[in-house]
């Protein structure tokens, strides 16, 4: 460790600090894209470890959150592939739907939005989560997903349409 040059040490430190600052949003993004809420923090943890392995790939001129959300997206896709290779079928979301009798209108709305999100195809859910949940610009979201902007907007539009239909 003593041989690590000071410059890379400081950029690793910088990445660590950026991760800590972004943690609440990483957890929120994780919650929005995983079908099972309990998976969200596991995904965040893996993304942190991957980011620290590749911290040198982050360029300070690029938005940190786009880079980090991109790592989360890749980790999530890897998991989806691993699960399908193992023949595990993802069950539709069932947790989180015990609705209290005294749930407010707003709480009911939140639950139905969360449930509707779980029904979107992966690509659309990622686009919706980045833009509508995380507030990324189209450009930033397209970078995080490694797709052209036109692809991002069409996934976003289809995702929104599907959500709207379910929530009406």
């Amino acid at each position: 460790m003593s041989e690590t040059p000071a410059t890379t040490k400081s950029s690793l430190q910088q990445v660590r600090e950026q991760i800590v600052a972004l943690l609440p949003r990483m957890r929120r993004f994780g919650r929005a894209i995983t079908r099972h809420p309990s998976d969200a923090d596991d995904l965040v943890q893996i993304a942190i470890e991957r980011a620290l392995l590749r911290y040198e790939q982050w360029r300070p001129e690029a938005p940190f959150h786009s880079w980090m959300f991109g790592i989360m997206r890749n980790a999530w896709i890897d998991e989806a592939r691993a699960r399908s290779r193992q023949g595990k079928v993802l069950a539709p979301e069932e947790a989180g739907l015990e609705i209290a009798d005294n749930a407010s209108e707003a709480q009911l709305r939140m639950l139905s939005v969360q449930k509707a999100m779980t029904t979107l195809p992966e690509e659309q859910r990622l686009a919706v989560a980045l833009v509508l949940v995380e507030g990324l610009s189209y450009k930033e979201a397209a970078e995080a997903l490694e797709v052209p902007i036109g692809t991002l907007t069409s996934r976003l539009a289809r995702g929104r349409e599907a959500l709207q239909k379910q929530l009406e």
Partner: protein
């Protein structure tokens, strides 16, 4: 003027340029249904945001803060500590998470602790710009060994292709196990666990089962398709393990 739903969506997201914005706003003044469509987009945006914003107020789990901030410990300690900690604190439905994070930690340990490699391994491992590479008998075994070795210091287990195409092989020595992949001029060690004892079992195919779970899991993660059989291994060796 007609506007596609995608344009109205972009307007609602504040993603149109000034010209288009003026055109849309002029049209909205004449056509209330346009304004209603845009309001719908904005309403959905607000609803979706609200559905997940509560997460921001939750306390951050310690394990995530630890993952982001903790300094890298020596490989074996880190591995042991993490496994123990995760088993105790976070029994989970997937094994994926545990092993991926363990595998990642191992590699972090290797990369950050270049000088911390055991002296007893300096004849098997060397470092280069991108991490740890095999040398000496380990490099020789990775390049040449096909079939069961006799009294070899290094035992090769499975050979497989990584998702990125290169050939990778698992190995076990008396005190370390892991896997390495063939890159341009070297066998790059992708995962390494120290303190793993190779078994004396004669069946080299069984070598896979000597690997620590974290390494096996890292292999599973890296592997594209099935492991090679001996004939395929010979063919790959004949091509000098090029992709």
């Amino acid at each position: 003027m007609q506007f596609s739903d995608e344009i109205l969506m972009a307007y609602a997201d504040d993603e149109v340029d000034a010209d288009l914005r003026r055109q849309i706003e002029a049209a909205m003044a004449l056509d209330p249904s346009l304004a209603a469509r845009i309001a719908k987009h904005r309403g959905l945006r607000a609803d979706v945001g609200a559905a997940f914003n509560g997460v921001l107020d939750e306390p951050i789990p310690d394990r995530l803060l630890d993952a982001a901030t903790s300094k890298t410990a020596p490989v074996t300690d880190l591995n042991a500590a993490r496994v123990a900690k995760q088993r105790a604190a976070h029994p989970r439905r997937w094994s994926w998470v545990e092993w991926t994070s363990i595998a990642a930690s191992l590699v972090i340990g290797i990369l950050a602790g270049r000088t911390a490699l055991q002296p007893s391994h300096s004849d098997l491992f060397a470092t280069n710009a991108s991490g740890v590479v095999a040398r000496g008998e380990l490099a020789a075994a990775l390049t040449d060994q096909v079939g069961a070795p006799k009294d070899a210091q290094v035992r090769i287990g499975l050979t497989f292709r990584a998702t990125s195409g290169e050939y990778c092989r698992t190995f076990a020595t008396a005190s370390a196990a892991g896997f390495a992949c063939r890159e341009t001029n070297a066998w790059q060690v992708r995962a390494l666990s120290e303190g793993a004892a190779g078994s004396k079992s004669g069946d080299y195919r069984m070598a896979a089962t000597e690997l620590p779970p974290a390494i096996l899991a890292a292999v599973e993660q890296a592997m594209a398709g099935e492991a090679l059989d001996q004939e395929q291994e010979r063919a790959a060796r004949a091509r000098d393990w090029t992709k």
